[in-house]
Symmetry: C2
Subunit: 136 residues, 2 copies
């Protein structure tokens, strides 16, 4: 997603280029790309001039959206899956802590977009290895 | 752990009582109790007068310690397992976000102790159903 977001608008990137960029096998990547396309986070084009590109809108795509498109909803515990997932939910002292932990986690992934990360990566490639003290 | 922490000091609780309190099968609980004892978070006594109790020290036990004793170290992504788990770690723009997300999550679970939760549970049982607005 970061590689795609770092391309000029409407650039189609082949699956093999994406596999090289992500350093992962093309077959594995195929399933990931299918999930991303299904969630509307990328557009998939078939045929000789085919490939993958970012959606035409400039809508920012968060890291949380990417992770959940690939792995499904992020839930740290069964009591976070629905209002009635566990009968102890209304009084269990651990439940509100799981709610808080889940919010803390998803808030971090929701506030960062792949567009931000693509800019960050571009800076690293131009300027060189980043100083880790500047990353948070 | 919350049930154990809510007992007077040095109270031994049987596995069947713990299974009733946790509403889970005894066989499943056995494995959990083994892990907790191995991590030193509970003391296991065998025999007729056996059972499980909290360690004699008053050391607070965090929810993170409990979760990690049962499930192993909490790592949101492979790049968080060691300094050299992924060759892209030093420049990947997503890596510091995973570090931040992991800290956000573990910070919540580290700041709450089972002793706190036991007090909370005692209040709920005495006072009745809690108002969810007071829980965070």
């Amino acid at each position: 997603m970061i590689h795609l977001a770092s391309q000029p608008p409407q650039t189609r990137v082949s699956r093999s280029e994406l596999a090289t960029a992500a350093e992962c096998p093309e077959q594995f990547l195929s399933k990931v790309l299918q999930n991303l396309a299904r969630a509307g986070l990328i557009i998939s084009h078939r045929g000789n001039t085919g490939g993958f590109e970012m959606p035409p809108t400039d809508e920012p795509i968060t890291l949380l959206q990417v992770v959940e498109a690939i792995e499904g909803p992020m839930r740290l515990n069964v009591c976070l899956t629905s209002e009635s997932a566990c009968t102890r939910q209304s009084w269990c002292p651990a439940h509100p802590i799981w709610v808080e932990a889940q919010h803390a986690l998803t808030d971090v992934l929701r506030k960062v977009t792949v567009q931000d990360l693509a800019l960050h990566e571009a800076n690293v490639i131009t300027i060189g290895k980043p100083d880790p003290r500047h990353w948070n």
